[in-house]
């Protein structure tokens, strides 16, 4: 081997400053949205309000589900709120189901595919990988919520009259205001799912079996909701990450009550910090043997 060759390799290898690494986030999000599974889940979510709208339209009945969307009966007079109704019905199960799949898969999925070791020796940096995985899960939360709200709003416009809407407080708002309220609801629901995403990310660092991490995350969201409905445990309720999930109604009053929006955001942030720290503690020193 000639010393020329050595110095040539050395000089081409001696590197400049590292990039900030946005490319990885872009790659993560594009990989997420290039999976057929992601689109299948978004399609199922979009189907929820579509099926509701069709059912209401066909039967002309006003189903007043025990689920609480008291203004479901309004849908026949105003199609703009179909999206909001859809998201209310999706919050307890459908949304956590899909978020559980994405967040639970984040690290465990890479481990089981064998790509985790190649990311780590690239080297991706373990903390950076956790952050990127979490951000991608958050993007999915937004996409999932919007899938329901947008599909619902569109099908509502197609099947029902569009006009001023009556809020829970009895006030009437115009069409632009109604659309803004729908967007606010989307933001609220997205934030509501961020704590669950952090829990999913942490569970995902515990195992190399993605299905296990997904199932555990989804089960936790159900358990939390069950606990939240047991009156004897009311001291626990404000600490449950699902506690404000159905507090969307506050955004449908005049004037808007921001109380649950604020409490929900603080609670979700606390869950992100707690489970982010747990995920870091677990993953930063974990032996990757997959």
């Amino acid at each position: 081997m000639s010393s020329d060759a050595v110095s040539e390799v050395a000089s081409s290898v001696s590197r400049g400053r590292p990039s900030v690494g946005w490319a990885l986030l872009g790659s993560e999000i594009s990989v997420l949205f290039r999976r057929r599974r992601t689109w299948a889940m978004l399609a199922v979510l979009a189907l929820v309000p579509i099926l509701i709208a069709i059912a209401v339209r066909v039967t002309r009945s006003t189903p007043n589900g025990g689920r609480g969307p008291a203004f479901l009966d309004q849908v026949t007079q105003n199609g703009l709120f179909v999206g909001v109704v859809g998201v209310l019905i999706s919050i307890p199960l459908f949304l956590p189901l899909t978020v559980g799949v994405v967040a639970g898969d984040s690290i465990a999925g890479e481990a089981s595919a064998g790509t985790l070791r190649y990311l780590l020796i690239a080297p991706v940096g373990r903390v950076r990988l956790l952050i990127v995985k979490y951000l991608a899960a958050a993007v999915f939360c937004l996409a999932a919520t919007l899938a329901v709200v947008v599909a619902g709003t569109l099908i509502g416009i197609a099947l029902f009259p569009v006009g001023p809407a009556t809020l829970l407080s009895g006030d009437v708002i115009g069409v632009p205001e109604t659309l803004i309220r729908s967007l606010l609801v989307s933001v609220y629901v997205t934030i509501s799912l961020l704590g669950l995403s952090a829990i999913g990310l942490f569970i995902s660092t515990l195992t190399d079996v993605p299905v296990g991490a997904m199932a555990a995350t989804i089960v936790l969201s159900v358990v939390s909701q069950v606990l939240d409905s047991i009156p004897q445990l009311d001291w626990l309720h404000p600490w449950l990450f699902t506690h404000y999930w159905l507090g969307v109604g506050d955004l449908l009053r005049q004037p808007i009550s921001w109380d649950s929006f604020g409490s929900n955001s603080v609670l979700q942030a606390a869950y992100i910090v707690l489970f982010g720290a747990l995920a870091y503690g677990r993953f930063s020193t974990k032996d990757v043997l997959s």
Binding site: S19, R117, Y118, L120, P123, G125
Partner: protein, 319 residues
């Protein structure tokens, strides 16, 4: 860059325990810069575990590792961009194409310039002969194609050190040859190569140095000649006149042994230590002494003989 004086890889007392079972126990491996280093050992002897520790995937239970002059895993971020690796087979996203997989893994390296990403991916695919399959989804790849893609991933940026864990696993004879040539050409460019394998013939063809693992311990290490045992070669003589031959060889200070061979001949063997006598002189003496020589050869022990001698004959995996 840190001086070339330091070894590419240096481990001291490297140990990894899984529960009470020591997968790697106190090994001291030294891989000189520029070497093609064969890391040999039977199944379960701890090769992959050692490689995982060298790359910072698993933490050693005890002992130290220095790679390219830096402590691992403490200085992992300055070491790993200069190291390409294939560990325990390839790992890819089945739903992405080969090229998309490489681009994805390349974005993970913050030192890999995104401006040249596409060109570097094309080049790496070309080097392993996968250009035609670049747009194909990986789930439609054969085992050997995935293995090639794994090697391409290790070549995405110029590397000072390549760590390849069984690179020819699943490859056809052409692929195996190509990998050998690839290793030779990379070594000629000055890249240090650490390759684990249990295909001894292969290691013998490309490596300059080797180490042999057995049940988690390092049983031998050095240049290939040192390992084979220079000067230790064996004389094999086929003759019907065994008694006479032993007598003649004895006059050269050789102690010979006899085993029966076919056609009324006997196989006479003797170990040649150092330069006792030139083979042609031995044959001349044998013929001159009236020994009918039907076959004569001097055999240097192969790496395989040495390997089996060090790691045992048994087929069972040693724990």
């Amino acid at each position: 860059m840190t001086g070339d004086a330091t070894a590419a890889i240096e481990t001291r007392g490297l140990t990894k325990r899984f529960g009470s079972h020591a997968a790697v126990s106190g090994i001291d491996v030294t891989v000189p810069r520029g070497a093609v280093f064969g890391f040999l050992g039977p199944n379960g002897s701890g090769k992959t575990t050692t490689i995982r520790m060298m790359l910072g995937l698993a933490a050693p239970t005890s002992g130290t590792i220095r790679v390219l002059g830096h402590d691992m895993p403490r200085e992992l971020h300055s070491v790993l961009p200069r190291v390409g690796a294939l560990v325990e087979g390839p790992g890819f996203y089945p739903y992405l194409s080969g090229a998309a997989n490489l681009r994805r893994l390349d974005t993970a390296d913050r030192f890999a310039p995104s401006a040249t990403r596409r060109a570097r991916v094309e080049r790496a695919l070309e080097r392993v002969g996968l250009t035609h399959a670049a747009r194909k989804k990986v789930h439609a790849y054969s085992l050997g194609m995935k293995q090639r893609l794994g090697i391409a991933n290790a070549l995405l940026t110029p590397r000072e050190l390549l760590v390849l864990d069984e690179p020819t696993n699943g490859l056809d004879p052409q692929g195996t040859r190509e990998v050998r040539n690839l290793i030779r050409s990379l070594a000629a460019e000055g890249t240090t190569i650490f390759v684990s394998s249990h295909l001894l013939a292969e290691v013998e063809q490309v490596c300059t140095h080797a180490a042999i693992m057995s049940a988690g311990e390092l049983v031998a290490q050095g240049t290939l000649d040192e390992l084979r045992g220079v000067g230790r070669s064996e004389l094999r003589l086929l003759t019907p006149d065994a008694g006479l031959a032993i007598h003649v060889l004895g006059s050269f200070g050789l102690s010979a042994e006899t085993t029966d061979a076919a056609d009324g001949s006997a196989l006479v063997t003797a170990t040649l230590l150092g330069q006792t006598a030139e083979p042609d002189a031995l044959v001349a003496a044998l013929v001159g002494g009236g020994v009918r020589v039907r076959g004569f050869s001097i055999e240097r022990p192969s790496l395989e003989d040495r390997f089996v001698a060090l790691t045992g004959e048994g087929f069972d995996v040693v724990q």
